[in-house]
Assembly symmetry: C2
Homo-oligomer: 263 residues x 2
DNA sequence: TAGTGGTCTAGACCACCTT
DNA sequence: AGGTGGTCTAGACCACTAG
């Protein structure tokens, strides 16, 4: 994916010149550091898919020359964006736009782990998929207007042979043209969003609480009605802060735990 | 707390020279960056309480001179430690050792929030406090040996007038000499640890799951037996990685949520 | 061997806080 | 006014990766 052909390289150079023409030459602005302006420009190009996931950016030196700043300033901007997980840098290789790999997805967006500390990709079965107008809750969570359409998914996910999670997903229709009443979707949804719709999920906010299983959930998860379930409420947003998914998961945590680091 | 008197300053200078004598002059080591060595030295001094919480460190220039490296190298080390929450830097003021303030404690170590998004400090009531030998679970969590003694606390914490959390705390006796069968402890425990025992909690690992309330918990929290509760399992560790507290909290999350950021 | 990022230095100037 | 950290530059050398 990261391998570069000569054609790729030439295409990139061609775009680079249009980029140079487009980018106003950076000038000192009071109260706004140069490196912040560099970050904005790079962020903009990521949002516009000018540099695509997995692609290599120009070297520090090239960027510095293009934007008329020093290499050190570009370096600070790039390193800042690495800590936002937008870029990855490897000594001797280059700077790359982050991709959703299986490993990344597991690490960042699936923090249920088994008693042995191992994370496993779940297997999903879609129970229902419909298009309809957003409810009030959905409009609030996803910043939608009255009358906006959403795709609503209902699915069960299994961890190690047994059903463990019941999940309701809501996606704004406008971000996913052509995605209709699917019965089959890939397990790694965020990579699918990125590959098929150019939607890059950059981060997510989650909150969790304990709830009692309703009869349907109890049946789907093979637990007693009223059994305690862990509810995970997640809103995923793009690099530019637009919410693209609301996910409400209810998990049987008798064998799994949700982990977090503090400090 | 951060205000500096002349006496403070002179005491610091006096210690600084002993520090200089102690610290081997830094030299290039293959495979180990200079800034990493600077970090180690500073970290060591924090662990030894050579610089105490709230205290100001020498300026970049002074540290650079003392360790015979450039100011930029010291800067990188200090900024790295800021992102670990060990230090705080403020333009025009100086670099300070992090303290547990009320605000910090709430933000980092109390992530239950109300429906309005507000965090409130809970009020605790201690039900029991005993000294005894560590159980096997406790030995594993706190890295203790057979026969090591612990202080075990059982308490109920209220959020906004109603009891919301039942908590069991286990502290290795060896870290808290003289702490016995207390019935009264301050609400901000980590600041208490720091002030009274020189124990600085640097980070914590938490995992959560949903459980059913047992009869005692149900009574203490005024919920039905078997009601779903959020269990938070936390191990807090010091700067040098020694576990100093195991905390098992069971929370009524009908009004509160546990939040996390991903990405 | 050429090109990349990683480290390190030295020095300039700015923004902010304290006195 | 003097001291602090924040920004920015320019250039040197090292470590790693690739062809």
């Amino acid at each position: 994916m990261a391998a570069k052909t000569k054609a790729d390289k030439m295409a990139r150079s061609a775009r680079a010149s249009t980029g140079k023409a487009r980018a106003a030459r950076l000038k000192r602005e009071p109260g706004k550091p140069l490196y912040a302006q560099v970050e904005e420009i790079i962020r903009r190009r990521l949002i516009d898919n000018y540099w695509k996931p997995g692609e290599m950016l120009p070297s520090e030196f090239e960027l510095a020359h293009e934007l008329s700043v020093s290499q050190g300033t570009v370096r600070k901007a790039l390193n800042d964006m690495v800590s936002e997980n937008l870029l990855e840098r490897r000594q001797g290789r280059g700077t790359f736009v982050s991709e959703y790999t299986e490993r990344r997805a597991l690490f960042f967006y699936f923090n249920l782990i088994g008693p042995d500390g191992v994370r496993a990709m779940p297997v999903s079965k879609i129970l229902a998929c419909e298009q309809r107008n957003a409810t009030e809750d959905e409009r609030n969570r996803l910043q939608l207007a009255i009358g906006d359409s959403v795709i609503a998914l209902h699915r069960v996910r299994s961890l190690g042979d047994s059903p463990a999670i019941v999940e309701r997903l809501t996606l704004p229709q406008k971000f996913f043209p052509g995605l209709g009443n699917e019965t089959r979707l890939p397990e790694n949804l965020y990579r699918f969003f990125q590959g098929e719709y150019g939607i890059t999920v950059a981060k997510a906010t989650e909150s969790v609480r304990a709830v009692a299983a309703d009869p349907l959930e109890a049946q789907l998860l093979s637990v007693m009605p009223e059994a305690p379930l862990l509810e995970i409420d997640r809103v995923a947003v793009t690099i530019d802060g637009r919410p693209v998914e609301w996910r409400l998961s209810r998990c049987n945590t008798s064998d799994y735990r949700y982990v977090a680091e503090r400090g």
